[in-house]
């Protein structure tokens, strides 16, 4: 008889969790001694606005969210990822992870393969890059190949990517020189509140699951303050499990550079937390977490990085809705569900990502839509409720409109406690959504502070 119960957490992607964080200051000093230059991390700008900060990738690599990736990719790995969404080791990985510098900075640094570079963040030592290879890219090419084209990927790409797509702009705005090699954090940053209590890197999340006795866990991807439709989705999707529904529901917010009009990340994580603080899901069954990543809005491609992150965290199932991590209409609205139900051959998936070599243990829960139906008297699943003309669909832009006009959304749309979290951050930032001022300030503030650490004498100028 086949065993139907799931007794253990899935293994990390690639077999072993990466953890590249040095916590011993003496060791950190020793490592810094080997560095031959210092580089101050700066944001990637598109038309003068920050769209990415490589520090977030360094954090996600070193704390194991992106296992088995250990640093900035070599040319061979980059090619392999762009060509078939696999690392040269054969493990599925969707996006280029690169440390890019301008030609001017490269000349100033005077480093090459074999050198170690000390990376500084907010004026303090942060991490080391062990340079293994230096090569050039054509950023526009990397951008096009990252997201695909209607010609090459006719299954799901509908129109060519352009400058209205934030993720595309991120890759187009990279500097042309890539320093490839492993990252090591040598000065552990302190997460700023409110993010500090939601920081569950894979090692810690797995410990937490074990402490709670969870073996079946489902992930909810979010970039939103949860409305009742999201809540219904989370609760109902969590009925998947083994002989009983999932033990745990893990919300993993993607925190990073954002777009104007989105909710501030502070409101997003605290909004999700309020779902358990106000008792709509028992806190014993619910964990709110986040990953630092400047969202690329790559729909099916983004779903793969979500699978990497969440399997590494120890999660067994993943909800995928329509328009997953999408922006605009570049991809088919069902692109992610197509990938996770039958595969997308042109992206290297003849079969779904849990069937291919080097693929995932995490299983998809491809799910349709929830809406509010006064006749069903519930947040009804679209495959059940047949009350056309009676039900009301959720629309993010409609809800933003309500908030904009100062109308308190009814409890059918927002739990009052969750809405009040939005108001709390509205009071703080003077605005309920990300506006230019917020985006500018947050990219200076970032999500972390760094303790002071002396530079070794040879690196002081």
């Amino acid at each position: 008889m086949p065993e139907v119960r799931i007794k253990t957490l899935p293994p990390p992607h690639g077999g072993k969790l990466v953890e590249r964080v040095v916590r011993d200051p003496q060791m950190a000093r020793k490592l810094m001694e080997k560095c031959s230059a210092v580089y101050d991390i700066k944001p990637t700008l598109f038309k003068g606005n920050p769209v990415r900060n490589v520090y977030r990738e360094i954090m996600s690599v070193c704390y194991g969210f992106f296992s088995p990736v250990e640093g900035s990719m070599t040319k061979a790995d980059l090619e392999s990822v762009l060509e078939k969404r696999r690392l040269t080791s054969g493990w599925v990985f969707p996006y280029p992870i690169l440390f890019d510098v301008s030609e001017e900075d490269f000349k100033k640094l005077g480093v090459g393969a074999g050198d170690w570079l000390l990376l500084r963040l907010k004026g303090e030592p942060f991490a080391i890059l062990e340079i293994e290879e230096v090569y050039e890219i054509v950023p526009g090419d990397v951008a096009v190949r990252t997201f695909g084209t209607p010609e090459k990927n006719p299954e799901v790409v509908k129109v060519p990517f352009d400058q209205k797509h934030t993720g595309y702009n991120i890759y187009c705005s990279l500097n042309p020189i890539i320093l490839a090699g492993k990252y090591t954090i040598i000065n552990e940053p302190k997460l700023r509140p409110p993010f500090d209590r939601f920081w569950y890197p894979p090692k810690r999340s797995r410990e937490e699951f074990e402490k709670r006795g969870w073996t079946t866990v489902i992930a909810h991807q979010t970039r939103n303050v949860p409305h009742t439709g999201h809540e219904a989705l989370m609760k109902n999707a969590a009925y998947i499990g083994d002989v009983k529904p999932s033990d745990g529901i893990v919300v993993n917010a993607i925190v990073g550079a954002k777009r104007i009009g989105d909710f501030p990340d502070e409101a997003i994580v605290e909004g999700h937390e309020m779902v358990h603080l106000a008792g709509y899901i028992k806190p014993e069954r619910h964990l709110v977490t986040f990953t630092l990543w400047d969202m690329r809005y790559g729909n099916p491609i983004e779903s793969l990085i979500h699978a990497v992150i969440r399997q590494n965290m120890g999660i067994s199932f993943h909800m995928f809705g329509r328009d997953h991590a999408a922006l605009g209409e570049y991809y088919d609205i069902f692109a992610t569900q197509i990938l996770w139900s039958k595969g997308i051959p042109s992206f290297g998936f003849e079969e779904p990502p849990y069937m291919v070599d080097g693929g995932f243990y995490i299983r998809p829960q491809n799910i349709e839509e929830f809406w509010f139906c006064p006749k069903c008297k519930e947040f009804a699943y679209s495959a059940n409720c047949n009350h056309k003309g009676i039900y009301s669909r959720y629309s993010g832009s409609f809800i933003r409109g309500l908030i904009n006009e100062g109308v308190m959304p009814p409890p059918e749309i927002y739990r009052p406690e969750v809405y009040k979290v939005v108001v709390k951050w509205w009071q703080k930032f003077g605005y309920p959504f990300n506006n230019e001022k917020y985006l500018k300030e947050r990219e200076e503030r970032l999500e972390v502070d760094l303790p002071h650490m002396e530079l070794p004498a040879h690196l002081k100028k």
């Binding site: 509140p193 603080l277 106000a278 100062g406 003077g430």
Partner: protein
Amino acid sequence: MAKYLGVIIDEKRMATIKGTPLEEKVESIFGGALRRLVIEVPDDLGQKVIDQFTKARFDARGYIEETPAAFKRAIFKRIAEMKELSPAVVEKVLKEDLEKVKEEAAKEDKELPVPDIDISDVLELQKNPVQKPA
């Protein structure tokens, strides 16, 4: 396909149109939790509205969304005045109120008045979070 412009009707707006023919045009959504008036407009007029505001767009159901609150206020004012839900209302706003709407909208992008509601209950709940910093 026609496009739609929805205007939320709160208590105050409801009082303004009480007793007029508009009152029975009010439709309820989310099981009566919200009420609104809807103007149906031809495609080109819908597009003309979208073109006025950078964030504005049609949503999946053909509704014009993400217009400034100032625009919605102006639309409601003209609805109440003209007592009808025709495209003429939208045309009138575009013709006569646009400059003022855009002025107010520019301010809206920077600041929106915080709703006057008591949030002490959630601050209390947050005082003792279940999840603690690492």
